[in-house]
Every structure is written in structure tokens, then in C-alpha cells.
């Protein structure tokens, strides 16, 4: 079986959950002798050096089966390709590769119209689509966070979306929904890494029977790492991830301030991650100001350490420095790969009680949950975690190993083998 995986970004070039999972799947499929996987990862002109003159699709760094889709002229409003040569190159690529399955992991930089074009070029191929966020539903970067007050959104509608984008009328969102659904209608099966997403997408109008839950799976990065050392206190906390607003590192720093104000300072917080440049001006200033103040304190008074970016092969060392992993996301965190990574190293997770974390963590059994976007609640949870005797041991014991790459690959292979007769053939003349 030939499987074409189509996704946004290549994890070698840009970090992110969607591309990481797509790539893990690709590597997993490569290990299966009966499968011939091909990866097509979209890049944008930021990587100008990779754009070979006149090319629209090229190989990538001499790697077998890996190709780059050299995106350009992308229409971010309608999420479409504005360049016919790209469409022609993609058509030709499909005709050459002739995959049995085309599995999309995103449409960004690629264009939604590639879905419909795939169906036209390969009427009999199976088309799968994995949702990694809510970008189809929500024009606010798929986060489903309301732009005017950052509250969590539970339902899109023309008027509600207009409220988030006052310059754009309800009609535009009405057409947007029709546009997205028409392209998504060529998909045989959707997958989501979390179950709550199925509810959200079926409420939006997709056929729930077509949406399957396939958990994200990663290789076990902890192989060979020693278990957590025994310590009298479990008061070392860590944040792993991007420093963008929705990941909530600013909330964690607010909680630290509050704990200090309450006179509690017997703890440390280590921040691992980057992309602060993508945070909003307000949050970036808040974070930078905090870190500058912290650096100005006498060494003994410092509680927060900024370690910067990391690769997965550095995880063991970074995890060894903490007891707890904090996931303070203030959006519908879809899955939380960092939860899996913490669990690989036996670290219990403290997370906001929404989305994927709420679904995956059983509070009091393998981790702790706090009220989303509530710095006070996070502060109380940190204090409890740092002071309650036996809590860490009990929760660490309750951790089950996260799904690995093999589990995910098996689940997708089962879907690839399903019979999807009856799917509409949009754009194919009868």
C-alpha cells in the first residue's frame, strides 16, 4: 500500500505538534514492510534557500520518500493556493506517486483546494484528514478563543465569528463554513487525537460516524534514562513548550508572583521553550519583564530559570531537573504532547482542566488539574504539590505509559484498510 502523508511544515525546519506527529507516523510507516510511505511537507518562503528555481515540489535533504511542497502566494483568509502552477505540480506529483491513501495532516500552506483536487485526480484513493486543532471551525487560528476577551469559545456561528472579527461581516463566515465543508466533504475519514474534538466537529456539522479517535503516539524518549531520583521534597516544576500566549507561561509566572506575595518560596520553576517572538506584545512584555526582574535578584532568591529551546534528545536532562510538569494552557489544548513526554519520564502533570489534558489526566490519580486561566488556582495547586507529603509518589505511581508510535501507526493502518464506499466525489463529473 502506498500512503502519501501531506502536512504543514517539516519538523526539521519548524517545531510543532502537527508536523511532529505526521513525521512520527511517516517514520512508523517506513518500518512496516508492506507500506510505502511518501511525505509531502509544505514550507513557506521563509526558507528561501530551499526554493529551487522553477520548482514547486522538491526532495528534502537527500531523505528517502520525503518531499517539500514549496508554498507561495498563500491565501490565509480562504486557505487556498493562489498559484495555478502549484496545483499543476501537485496534480502531477499525485499522478506519479499514485498513492492508495492520501492522509492530510493539515491544509495550511497547502490549501484546502488540494483536498478536492486530490479527489479529482485520484477518484478511487482514500482520503484521510487529521485535525490537530479547530482551524476549520475557527478563523482565529483555530484556537477557539474569543479575540476580544480571550475566553474559551464553544461554538462558531456567523454572528459569533463576526464578534471576534468586527471588520468581517457574518456573511463572510457563512460562506467560509460552506467553503470549508465543501472541501472537507471529499474526505473519507477524519481523525482527532482527542475525543472531545469529535464532539466539537460533529456539532459543527461533520458526520460523527466519519470522525475517528486516533491518539498521538511517539517513540519513548526516556529509553536508557535513570528513574527520578529520590528526594525529600518534590518542589521543582517545569514548563515545556512554546512561549506563545495560549500555552499560558504568563499564567504560570503570575502564579509564581502570587506565591511569593503569600510568602511561599520553597519551589523552583524551569521554563523550557522558545518562540516568545510569536507571543502578543502585552504577554511578551510581561514575560520579559518578569525574567529581567528575576535575573536581578540575588541568586538565592531566584525561583524561575529560563533554559531556552530544547530538542527531544535533551529531554532526559531537562526532565531530570524537575519533579512536576506544568501545562497551563489557556486554550483548548488539543492533546498535549508534553504530557506524554512527562509521563515517559515518570513526571506527574499539573494541567488546566480543559481539552486534551482534562481528557487524559485523571486528577488525583496520575496528575492534578486546576481551573483554566485562573492564576490563583494554579498557585494553590503548585503549593499543594510542593508541600503535600506522599502526593508526588502516589501520582507518579499512577502514571500509565503513553501510547507509543506503534499504537498510533496500527490505528491509522486499520483506517487505511477500511472501505469508505459512498463518499461523495465532489468535482468528478458523473
Amino acid at each position: 500500500m502506498k500512503v502519501l502523508l501531506v502536512g504543514v511544515h517539516h519538523p526539521e525546519l519548524v517545531r510543532g505538534g502537527a508536523q511532529q506527529i505526521c513525521y512520527e507516523l511517516f517514520k512508523g510507516l517506513q518500518a512496516r514492510p508492506e507500506i510505502e510511505p511518501v511525505l509531502l511537507a509544505a514550507v513557506d518562503p521563509t526558507f528561501r534557500a530551499l526554493y529551487k528555481s522553477g520548482a514547486r515540489i522538491t526532495g528534502f535533504d537527500g531523505r528517502e520518500g520525503e518531499f517539500l511542497y514549496l508554498g507561495r502566494d498563500y491565501d490565509y483568509t480562504w486557505h487556498k493556493v493562489s498559484n495555478p502552477q502549484l496545483l499543476e505540480a501537485y496534480s502531477e506529483f499525485l499522478e506519479i506517486v499514485r498513492p492508495d491513501v492520501v492522509h492530510f495532516h493539515h491544509f495550511m500552506l497547502l490549501g484546502l483546494d488540494l483536498l478536492t483536487l486530490t479527489r479529482r485526480v485520484l477518484p478511487r484513493a482514500k482520503i484521510l484528514f487529521t485535525f490537530h486543532e479547530f482551524m476549520s471551525i475557527c478563523a482565529a487560528d483555530g484556537q477557539m478563543v474569543r479575540t476580544f476577551d480571550r475566553s474559551l469559545c464553544t461554538r462558531a456561528s456567523p454572528v459569533r465569528c463576526h464578534q471576534c472579527f468586527p471588520d468581517r461581516g457574518p456573511e463572510e463566515f457563512f460562506v467560509r463554513e460552506m467553503w470549508f465543508k465543501r472541501h472537507l466533504s471529499v474526505v473519507d475519514a477524519f481523525t482527532t487525537p482527542s475525543r472531545f474534538m469529535i464532539e466539537r466537529y460533529s456539532a459543527w456539522g461533520l458526520d460523527a460516524a466519519k470522525i475517528h479517535h486516533v491518539t498521538n503516539g511517539q517513540p519513548d524518549y526516556s529509553r536508557g534514562a535513570p528513574p527520578a531520583e529520590k528526594r525529600a521534597k518534590r518542589n521543582r516544576f517545569g514548563f515545556f513548550g512554546q512561549l506563545v500566549d495560549n500555552k499560558g507561561v504568563w499564567l504560570l509566572l503570575q502564579a509564581v508572583r502570587q506565591l511569593r506575595a503569600e510568602g511561599f518560596s520553597d519551589f523552583t520553576v524551569e521554563i523550557n521553550g522558545d518562540n516568545l517572538r510569536f507571543a502578543s506584545d502585552v504577554r511578551r512584555a510581561e514575560i520579559e519583564s518578569f525574567l529581567a526582574d528575576e535575573a536581578a535578584l540575588p541568586f538565592a532568591d531566584r525561583r524561575v530559570v529560563f533554559n531556552g529551546s530544547y530538542d527531544v534528545d535533551q529531554l532526559a536532562r531537562r526532565m531530570a531537573r524537575i519533579d512536576w510538569c506544568i501545562v497551563p494552557s489557556v486554550w483548548w489544548e488539543i492533546f498535549g504532547l508534553v504530557i506524554s513526554e512527562a509521563w515517559m519520564f515518570g513526571r506527574p502533570v499539573i494541567a488546566a482542566n480543559v481539552g486534551g489534558p482534562a481528557e487524559r489526566i485523571t486528577a488525583g490519580q496520575d496528575g492534578l488539574l486546576f481551573e483554566v486561566a485562573d492564576a490563583g488556582a494554579l498557585a494553590r495547586t503548585i503549593r499543594r504539590a510542593a508541600t503535600e507529603k506522599g502526593l508526588w509518589d502516589r501520582l507518579a505511581k499512577g502514571i500509565q505509559p503513553p501510547a507509543n508510535q506503534e499504537v498510533m501507526v496500527d490505528a491509522f493502518l486499520a483506517l487505511y484498510g477500511m472501505d469508505f464506499k459512498g463518499s461523495p466525489l465532489i468535482g468528478v463529473q458523473e
Binding site: 495555478p84 478536492t116 456573511e171 457563512f174
Partner: protein, 574 residues
Amino acid sequence: MTTPDLAAPDLVAPDLAAPDLAAPDPESNEHETFDEIEYLRIHQDVAQAIARGEVASGYAHYVAFGVIEGRALPSPTHEPRNRLLVSHPTPASVPPHETRFAIDSLIVAPAGGLMIVGWINDAHDPIQCIRIAGAGWRVTIDRARFVRVRRHDVEQALDRNGQHPFGFFGFLHFDRMVDGAGPCLVEIWLAGGSSVLLPVTPQVVGDIELRDIALTHLGTASFAGNAAVERVACLDAGFGDELVRFNRAITRRIVATPYVERFGPTGKAPGARSPRGTIVVCLYGRAEYLFLQNCLFAGLPGIEDYEFIYVSNSPEIGETLLREARSSSLVYGLPQTVMILPGNAGFSGANNAAAAIARSGRILAVNPDVFPRDPGWARKHLDVLDNAPAERTRLFGVPLYYDDGSLMHGGMFIDVDIGLSMASGIPRARRLLRVEHYGKGAPADATRFTRSRPVPAISGAFISIDRAWFERLGGFSEDYLFGHYEDADLSLKSIAAGTVPWLHDIRMWHLEGKGSTRLPPHEGGSAVNRWLFSRRWSAMVEAGLKGPSPTYPAPEAFSPGPTTRARIRSTPAR
């Protein structure tokens, strides 16, 4: 408009008795357009100079000396009004005067039109005409052709807050090229016989720009009284006709040189069917509707029997459209033609031009922001054509829906607004036709509005018309500017020719007004269109076509009659 300059030259009445108004035939030849006799009667010293052989004629004297000396011309000028005349250049001169005035701008489109904008304090001695002379041409615009408007800036500067319309603008269309370069002489005549000559350097623009400037002035002008009524009323005396004629010439010029490219299946492939319907979509300003419609019309049952023609009134999006059409034909596979016009020919001009290259005998004029609500619409439309009596399908529309799910309308009717115009100083009732919609905002399934039935008019957002009938009616009237009322006009033309439009229950979404960009000239265009539509159809409407239950041409004309033979398939809506 400029701020009034109170140091502007003033007018003073010449020290002469009112001249004899008996005029020679002004059209016998160009030389006689200068009132030689009257000029010599007024200035007897000139007559004596001619007798002595010192000058050749009164006109020659006027050109060489009279202007400089501030000699008065016969008042008011007897020249033919509102017509371009050939003349010799005249040197400028500004005599001392008293009445305050200013010319804000003189705009000339060498291809055939000019506009003059200014203000004058003529409350006690009204303006009579304005003569404008350029290099080798001159024209006298009659006062009736001027639109008089309120100028709050002038009222403030003159400390006058009355109702007198100090502002004026005039527009004239002519059918020959003129030299717009260099200064012009503007001569203002007042009814009392005084005049002034003023050199003005014109702003030279293209004809489209001139039209848009004129419409913007009209659309933004301030009037004493109800602006909507006065804006229409002021068009009666010629300004409206001038604009319509000027615009028609622009439209004809624009549609004469389109760029046309076809995409997708051409119909020449073996086994390919000729289209049964041509969906004509007129685009203005926004290109994205091409791919949105391609996406949302493609793949629906029966769509293979249609072709699309996208005709663009926005040359600036031409390349984008061609690119999108190329992409869309690859992704969606619909046969489509893109026609790029070199300017805005308006809804009518564009649709007529596109219809002329249609490959089917059925034209569907569809707005870019119209999308299928009924997935089976394409086949249902053909079912209506195949099964309903011909007189019910010759021209028909469909129910249109808002994005919120409610009915936008199920057909249109004509009503009459009665406004009060104060332009003449005496209150006068002004009857203006208004297009109304059946069932605006009604629940989606309000069958009284959605059922198949004859209606007085149908919306241009979706019109299905037999091509032969369309051609017999002369297509959409190109007298209307940009877009408005052409649909009702076509409907009434059809009624006048013997076929009442129908509405058939084939449901479409319509995101009204979202398919194009509205600019300032469009407001003026709307006024002209309403004025024109009212003038053209008031008699028929008043004869029984007025209101939601019309009786013209006969009481039974709007009865749905026996159940239609159409076997229309029922397809669930979204």
C-alpha cells in the same frame, strides 16, 4: 470644493439698456453665433470703427479689444445652449464687479464632456447661463442644466443661513473631441444682464473619471429639504439626460474591447454536450467570488449542463481572475469563460456583453454572492424549463435567502414614494418609484412568497431568461449607471412586451451587497437610476402595476393559475 474666497471678482451690471433678445438663427453658421448686430448696437463706437475700416467686424473687435476693455456682450447670450460650438481663442479679462462668486473647478474630459463646479451669490439676480470657451471650442450651459446645491461653507462665509442654494455644478456631454489643454474662459451671465469673464485652468481627466466626479458631486450634494427627493428632482432639466448619454457612450466604448479566455472543457471534446444554460456572473472589485462559486456550484447534480461566464468590470483584478479561473478549472472542472472589460461598463453593459458570447439559449444572470441553497438547483432549473409552459419560463427568478436562514425575498413589486420637492421654491409632490420585495425577512418556508407564481419583477441577483427573449427585449438597459433597477426595468419591459415574469421555487443564498464594493459615485448613480426608472415606468406602474397585488395588464395576469405542469423535484435544503 474650495473654501469661498471673498476676494473673488464681483459682477457689476453694464451701463447699458437691456439688449434686444430677438436672436438671429444661431445655427446658420458659426460666425453668426456671435451676436454681431447686438454687439454693434451696444457699442456704436465699434460700428464706427468698422465703417472707418479700422477693424473687420464686431467679433474681431471683441476678440482683440473688447474682452480686455471689459465690453459687455449682449445679454443674455443668444448662443444655442448646451451644445459645443467651434470658436476662436479669446483673451482673458476680469473686469471689476460686485456680486460674489467662485469657480471651484472646471473639469474637462477631452473625449466628450465637461463639468463646472462653483458657487455664486445670485439670490437677487439669478444666474442665466455660463459660457465656457476653450481652445477652438465653446459651450454655453443654460441655467436649467445646473444643479443648485447648498454650500454650508459659503453660507458661513457670507453669514447667510437661509435656504438659498449658493452652490452649483453643471455637466455637459458632447460627442466630439475637444482640446482640454490650456486655460479656458468662463463667462457667467445673470438674468439682470450683468456678466463676468474669468480665466480658469481646467483639470483634464478621462471620461470615466469625469463621470465618477459628476456622480460623486451628485451623491454627496447637500440640498435644502429632503436630499433623496431633491437629488432626483434636480436631474429633470437635463443633468440626468446628460449623464445617461455620457455613461452610455462610456459603456459602449468599454464593452467594445474585452479580453476573453475560456477555461476547462470546451464542449468540443468527443461526446461533450453543449451547455443548456449559461451562468453569467458580473464581478466588480472582488475576485474571490470566482473560486467560491466554482467550489460551491461544482459537483452538484445537473451542473454539467451549464457553462459559466465571469465578466469583470474591474480591470485591476483581471490577472487574478485569469489565474483563479485556471486554478478553478483544474480543481473543479467547470467550463468557464472569463471576460475582462477595460473599465466598469456597469451591470447591464457587462451582462449584455457576456450574454453575447454565451453558447446556450438560456441566460442565467447570477450575482457573484449567490450560492446554491438547494443542492439540486441545477437539475430543478432544467426541469422547470422542460416542463413548465413557455410563458412561465421565458423570464423567471427564484427565492433568495439571507445567510441567517430567513427569506431575503420571493420576487419584487413596484411601489410609489411621494416626496416633497422644494427646489422651485414652491412645494411640489414628487412621485418616485421604489422596488420592494415580497417576504423580506420572512421565515424560510413562507410558501406564499416562495411558491411558483407570476410577479411584477425579479431580482437581478438571479434571473433566468430565454436568450431569444432577452435579445428581443434589447437585453438589460444600458441607460442605468453601474447597477440598480436594470432588473426591474427588464421585468417591466417584458411585461410591456407581453410576458409577465415568474418566480419558481429554486432556492439560493444571496449575501446581498457583499459581492462588490460600494464607492461614492455609486450614490449618485443610484439617484440617476431611480430618476430614470421613475420617468420611464411611472405611467405603467400607476396604471395598475403598483403595490404587491397588481392588476396590470389584466387582473388575472398575476394569478398563478392552474397548477404548473412542472415536475419540480423536491430537494432538501441545507
